[in-house]
């Protein structure tokens, strides 16, 4: 996936910004100490084994997740099995996607129950691996929040199938104070609101096979169901975490994440947006764009400056993604509603 071939390795201008971002992302993840710390490995037992110095250094937030089998009904009447992280307790969501937030370097405690029939192993894309979690087990993970940006949490053992099965969550890393408008400690321009949009593509044949314990034929993957925040249009337009609600004059940071395989190209009606970071690395190649590249397993932060009122769709332009198994209108369409 290279946009051009003749660039100099030392010349950042000549490097595919998406691919280069992915490489830097992988390098940086190691260097910046993205880490899990394993707590207790038995179901609901005992106190978590925190690293003392980190405990003293930072207050803890506790998020509760369950890896669970979930059935979703689509507009064409089909029911697909997914294996998703389900947010429990007060864990926040966009749609039904868990969104964990913390400041860089802070400890996030994630208490995760595995209600699936197989062992899982949480993983931050571009980051470190967590512990294995057996079926029925509850494990407390202490997560050092990565550098500022948007990160995907998914599963290492499910591998390529984790995307289509929807096994993903989003980690937002931003300074505690002044993270929004005029954030002095934010490398992104100040913003008034933020939204998470997690794109997942699925092939019903794959999901059914994996759900029944079979290995899918990797050569035949052709997605026919497409979700944003685990929803499809028009449900995306009624979910407060997915309908992008804003006011003229505001700046909205869109944390766009592609957990899927499809190399997306997402079009904004009504507005151009400024791509701030790709895989948490600043980009300085593109000017304002109305259609932005979003490859699989990539995060991208785009700043929307709301300069007109109205209701406008946002959707990938490989248009089968705007359908439910071919039936338009559905799929990965969400709306911006600006007053």
């Amino acid at each position: 996936m290279s946009r051009q071939e003749n660039q100099s390795a030392s010349d950042p201008v000549g490097v595919d910004p998406v691919e280069a971002g992915r490489r830097r992302f992988l390098q940086m993840a190691v260097a910046t100490g993205i880490a899990f710390q394993l707590g207790v490995g038995t179901a609901d037992a005992g106190q978590p084994n925190l690293i003392k110095q980190l405990w003293q250094k930072q207050p803890l937030q506790v998020w509760m997740l369950e890896a669970a089998r979930i059935e979703q009904t689509f507009s064409d009447g089909s029911i697909l099995p997914y294996h998703r992280y389900r947010a429990l307790g007060s864990t926040p969501v966009a749609g039904s996607v868990p969104v964990l937030t913390g400041a860089p370097g802070e400890i996030l405690r994630v208490r995760m129950r595995n209600s699936l029939s197989y062992t899982i192993r949480p993983m931050i894309v571009g980051g470190m691996l967590g512990p294995t979690i057996a079926p029925g087990e509850v494990v407390t993970l202490d997560l050092v929040v990565p550098t500022e940006g948007t990160w995907l949490l998914t599963d290492e053992l499910l591998g390529d199938a984790a995307g289509p099965m929807g096994l993903g969550a989003v980690i937002i890393s931003r300074p505690h104070k002044n993270g929004l408008r005029g954030g002095r400690r934010s490398s992104v321009l100040g913003y008034d609101r933020e939204y998470v949009l997690l794109y997942v593509d699925s092939d019903d044949r794959w999901n059914t096979a994996i759900d029944t314990g079979l290995l899918p034929d990797y050569t035949t993957y052709e997605p026919n169901y497409h979700t944003v925040n685990n929803l499809t249009f028009p449900d995306t337009a009624s979910d407060p975490g997915t309908l992008i609600t804003c006011q003229v004059g505001e700046r909205v940071l869109l944390r766009m994440c592609n957990l899927g395989w499809v190399r997306q190209s997402v079009h904004f009606h009504g507005y151009h947006v400024d791509i701030q970071r790709i895989n948490n690395q600043p980009q300085s190649i593109f000017g304002p764009k109305d259609t932005i590249p979003l490859p699989g397993h990539t995060t991208l932060e785009a700043l929307l400056t709301v300069n007109q009122p109205g209701v406008f769709p946002v959707h990938p332009h490989s248009l089968t993604t705007t359908t439910d198994n071919g039936l338009y209108i559905g799929g990965q369409i969400t709306l911006i509603s600006a007053t």
Binding site: G14, D290, Y328
Partner: protein, 298 residues
């Protein structure tokens, strides 16, 4: 100038038609398209697939007087022009134009560049069947040799409207299970496969050494396209109607569905070779097929 720059104006009559026919992949296919009013022709007044392109002027109010002369509802979505909700052409947020109905889309184009328009009714099938065209916004002085105020100048200008076609979709009228998966078997530039595109006056890149060719590319396919100009280096100067923050020098460039890129090629030696678009599988990145035209530099 490969058919560009002959009509630059702010007001257009655009008519939708569902009675077209074009040879696609060696067989006649019924196509749906927009023409400029009376010609019963789409792209460059020469073919019905894809739709006609429009050239308008930055800073002026444009009026697209749309007549739906077909048996289905349609709209015109002005892709990338950031128009208001009323003129956005999305039935779910505004309205569709009923058969035999009309509406005048009105907007002001604030930036010179390469844009797109298409029907947004049952989009997955209407778009595929041909209801999409390019819009070029000229600078305020209507120049056809300068990309934008303060932007690069050029001697030749070519538009590539990238498309792929799944022949199993050829007779589909409405979306459904038949449009769940797009498996293209025809790969085109400006509605032509390689055999025709190599001789197509509107697709070929023809210039003399030292001249500057401005290539506007709109990807109206459902796949990513990788563009190569016979290995020659070119500058990527604009995307989606805005200058690049940094001009990128490259020998190939990948363009996502719905994206537009403007490339500037300044050949330094004679060459006669293929210029190509490789269409890529969305998830594996494999080349599904290639469309080629000719690069002729004398």
């Amino acid at each position: 100038m490969a058919g560009l720059g002959t009509i630059v104006q702010s007001n257009y009559s655009v008519v939708s038609r569902m009675s077209g026919s074009q040879n696609i992949g060696g067989q006649p296919v019924g196509v749906w398209y927009f023409d400029r009013g009376t010609s019963f022709q789409g792209f460059m007044n020469d073919r019905q697939f894809p739709s006609a392109h429009l050239e308008i002027i930055q800073g002026q109010t444009s009026n697209i007087m749309f007549q739906n002369m077909s048996p289905m509802d349609h709209t015109i979505h002005l892709h990338g022009l950031d128009v208001d909700q009323q003129n956005d052409g999305v039935p779910a947020t505004s309205f569709s134009v009923p058969r035999m109905g009309s509406y005048t889309y009105q907007f002001l184009a604030p930036h010179a560049g390469t844009y797109h328009y298409h029907c947004h009714v049952d989009t997955v099938i209407h778009y595929h069947r041909g209801m999409s065209g390019a819009i070029i916004v000229r600078p305020p002085d209507s120049s056809i040799t300068r990309a934008w105020d303060g932007g690069p100048t050029f001697d030749e200008e070519v538009l590539w409207h990238l498309m792929t076609y799944d022949l199993t979709w050829a007779d589909i009228l409405n979306s459904g299970t038949g449009t769940a998966r797009h498996r293209p078997d025809v790969f085109m530039i400006n509605g032509f496969s390689s055999a025709q595109a190599r001789t197509d006056l509107y697709s070929r890149l023809v210039a003399t050494v030292g001249q500057r060719i401005y290539l506007r590319i709109l990807n109206a396919s459902y796949q990513w396209g990788r563009v190569r100009l016979a290995g020659l280096p070119f500058d990527v100067v604009a995307s989606d109607g805005r200058p690049m923050q940094q001009v990128v020098s490259a020998t190939s460039w990948e363009i996502g569905p719905g994206e537009r890129y403007d490339l500037l090629l300044t050949p330094t030696a004679p060459i006669s070779a293929d210029a190509t678009v490789e269409y890529l599988d969305d998830w594996t990145g494999a080349v599904l097929g290639t469309a080629a035209t000719r690069l002729e530099i004398t």
